[in-house]
């Protein structure tokens, strides 16, 4: 065999170098604004800090043990858990219902699709302000309706019993747009022939829904469930505008709690510990999600 002088290491690694160059912006940005701060957050969670967020006293796991025994934090965790429970299932079922309706081939369906997806174009701040008005104790629409049908009025945002539910209702509304859009896209990716052949077999609507639509949609559903879960844990804007965590801490969801601890109380150590806990929760939830659901998801 004729020997060929192999090109040098420099030349052979050309792809590696060029590839790295193209990835460089992402790598730098991720390092500065994601990896470094994540590590720094973990680091700070073991310290008491000064006003400028510098580590002052190493307290080991004390921040964590403090948090896990603090009624305020436990309350915040409970509120977060409840909030997720209130918003995610209902939100997705509602969006799925809308998507199924909007997937019918009818005249003017484009108009309805636009209506359903509209909330995606409305910011959390704007939505919150609108809902603040709807929930208003005297001029708000809901209480007017209750009054009109002779029911006792509700202090939607001021009653600790109701505040979290109210926030959940407004959040479901805010999120339907995005979930709807994704689910509709998923529905439209399903091969039309599947329906045609099942129609020939004489399958009814709900049979088709159960045996074709849902299984074929499962990857999209899986995606939107994951995203919705993560989003629910990250809720902030509506709390800040609607209730500021009140009344009596009943809507102090975890991100709001982090925000207050860090930027109002300047307790960056405990705030970081909370942030780490948030990170762990999201990690566990997504991993569990993948483990539990991936088996059932039907990928084409």
């Amino acid at each position: 065999m004729t020997t060929v002088r192999a090109p040098g290491v420099w030349k052979r690694s050309a792809n590696l170098r060029v590839g790295f160059l193209y990835l460089l912006p992402s790598i730098i940005l991720f390092s500065v604004f994601l990896f470094y701060p994540m590590i720094r957050t973990i680091y700070l969670s073991f310290f008491l800090t000064d006003q400028n967020g510098n580590a002052a006293v190493n307290v080991g796991f004390e921040n964590y043990s403090y948090l896990l025994t603090s009624p305020a934090f436990l309350n915040s965790m409970k509120a977060t858990g409840l909030f997720v429970l209130y918003t995610v299932p209902i939100g997705i079922i509602l969006a799925l219902f809308f998507a199924l309706l909007a997937n019918e081939k009818l005249k003017g369906i484009g108009f309805f699709r636009t209506m359903y997806s509209s909330t995606m174009g409305i910011s959390v701040a704007a939505s919150s302000v609108i809902w603040l008005f709807l929930f208003h104790p005297s001029v708000g629409l809901f209480n007017r309706i209750l009054l009109a049908i002779n029911l006792p009025q509700i202090q939607w945002l001021l009653d600790p019993e109701w505040a979290l539910v109210s926030i959940a209702i407004s959040t479901i509304w805010m999120n339907t747009g995005f979930s709807f859009l994704i689910l509709l896209g998923g529905l439209q990716n399903i091969d039309e022939h599947l329906y045609e052949s099942s129609r020939i077999d004489g399958a009814g609507y709900f049979y088709r829904l159960r045996r074709i639509t849902i299984p074929m949609l499962s990857p999209t559903l899986f995606f939107i469930i994951t995203i919705s879960l993560i989003n629910a844990f990250q809720t902030f804007g509506q709390i800040d505008i609607l209730t500021k965590g009140g009344p009596s801490q009943s809507t102090n969801l975890i991100v709001y709690s982090i925000y207050r601890e860090a930027f109002i109380n300047y307790q960056f150590g405990t705030a970081s510990a909370q942030a780490v806990i948030l990170f762990i929760i999201i990690l566990v939830v997504t991993v569990l999600q993948f483990k539990l659901l991936e088996k059932k998801v039907h990928y084409q």
């Binding site: 065999m1 004729t2 060929v4 090109p7």
Partner: protein
């Protein structure tokens, strides 16, 4: 017009198994060279090594007498047409054709001129403003061709360019490509898995199997004198009938599948002793017995299948373990189960050494059939 020379070229993707090995071949300037072989045999790999899209892991590639192993694709002075055409979907036909010229900073006026000329040659003038997705498969194919021609590269590589077209269009494009190649005198290296394409287009063909060269030569020579059983059964349709055979003790002929005796006068020279052999005969060389007076080995066979293809009749019959086929011109009235007398002319038989695959006896007396042959493949 450049020569392309491969000297002991080999290729492996994982540094262990060679997918191509010991390729030694010279493609002459202006030649239409066809690379043919079954799927996965390494045709594309070899072509892509010539193009510089794939690294050569062993041996030397010379283009125009210069070593080109590590030359980048654009420095090799060649053009390439891909199976899926690889047209830029966002550019118009005109822009697609001039794309390469634009990259090479050819003047706009010259670009236009050359594009117009090539478009005319390929009948694309009316489509220059369209996007590729607004064209039919055949038109896209022609755009891809135009793109290769317009570059005026002395070497053109094509990887199964016609396999996405329907049969009729394919036949038309075959002659079209051949005509253009002759006209421009470019060196063409053409990959196909279709032996009809190989036979009809190539000045020379190279048959590849498992990454190894099986045979290189003119289409007719390969058809007549296949170098080994693989080539014999790969080229020609229906394929050559091949069965195990052995030398008769008296050396006056051979026994095929222990059932058919074929006498051969020069049998002595074929095999020294009890080597196992393979005997092969093309279906069209199995002749009907009509008058009863024909010379040669006459036998009776039971027809197991018949296909009448309009102008010819193909039927099969059992020879020992194998099913053989015969092809007769004309429409023959026969049915499954019929007994048919056939004539096995000993001069038509190829004999291979079973172990090495080597052709040890060439068929004879084929010259006078050369006119009929190329039609009947």
């Amino acid at each position: 017009m450049k020569r392309v020379e491969l000297i002991d070229v080999s290729k492996s993707y994982d540094k262990q198994v060679d997918v191509i090995s010991n390729i030694d071949v010279t493609i002459e300037p202006g030649e239409f060279f066809v690379l043919v072989g079954p799927s996965g045999c390494g045709k594309s790999t070899m072509l892509r090594m010539i193009a510089g899209l794939e690294e050569i892991t062993g041996g030397v590639l010379e283009i125009g007498g210069k070593r080109a192993n590590h030359l980048s694709p654009d420095k090799r002075d060649l053009s390439m047409v891909f199976q899926n055409y690889a047209l830029y979907p966002h550019l118009t036909v005109g822009q697609n054709i001039t794309f390469g010229l634009d990259v090479k900073k050819v003047k706009k006026t010259v670009q236009m001129e050359r594009a117009k000329e090539v478009a005319e040659m390929l009948g694309l003038t009316d489509y220059l403003k369209r996007k590729p997705r607004e064209l039919s498969g055949g038109q896209r194919q022609r755009v891809a061709l135009a793109r290769a021609i317009v570059s005026e590269a002395p070497i053109c590589l094509m990887d199964e360019p016609l396999s996405n077209l329907d049969a009729k269009l394919r036949a038309h494009m075959r002659t079209e490509i051949r005509r253009i190649q002759r006209k421009l005198g470019i060196t063409m290296i053409y990959v196909t898995h279709d032996q009809v394409e190989a036979m009809t287009m190539g000045d020379r063909i190279m048959i590849l199997h498992d990454g190894k060269i099986q045979q290189v030569g003119k289409p007719i020579d390969i058809y007549n004198y296949p170098a080994n059983p693989f080539v014999a059964s790969f080229i020609g349709a229906p394929p050559m009938n091949i069965s195990p055979a052995r030398m008769e003790p008296s050396k006056s002929g051979i026994f095929i599948e222990d059932t058919i005796h074929v006498s051969m006068n020069e049998a002595q020279s074929i095999a020294s002793s009890a080597r196992s052999l393979l005997a092969g005969i093309r279906p069209e060389h199995i002749k009907p017995v009509i008058t009863g007076a024909e010379e040669g080995n006459k036998i009776q066979v039971d027809v197991t299948n018949v296909e009448i293809l309009g102008n010819e009749t193909v039927f099969s019959f059992q020879v020992g373990q194998r099913e053989w086929m015969a092809k007769w011109s004309g429409q023959w009235d026969m049915a499954i189960g019929d007994k048919v007398p056939i004539l096995l002319g000993s001069e038509y038989f190829c004999v291979f050494d079973e172990e090495t695959g080597e052709l040890i006896r060439k068929p004879e007396g084929l010259e006078h059939l050369s006119i009929a042959k190329e039609v009947s493949i």
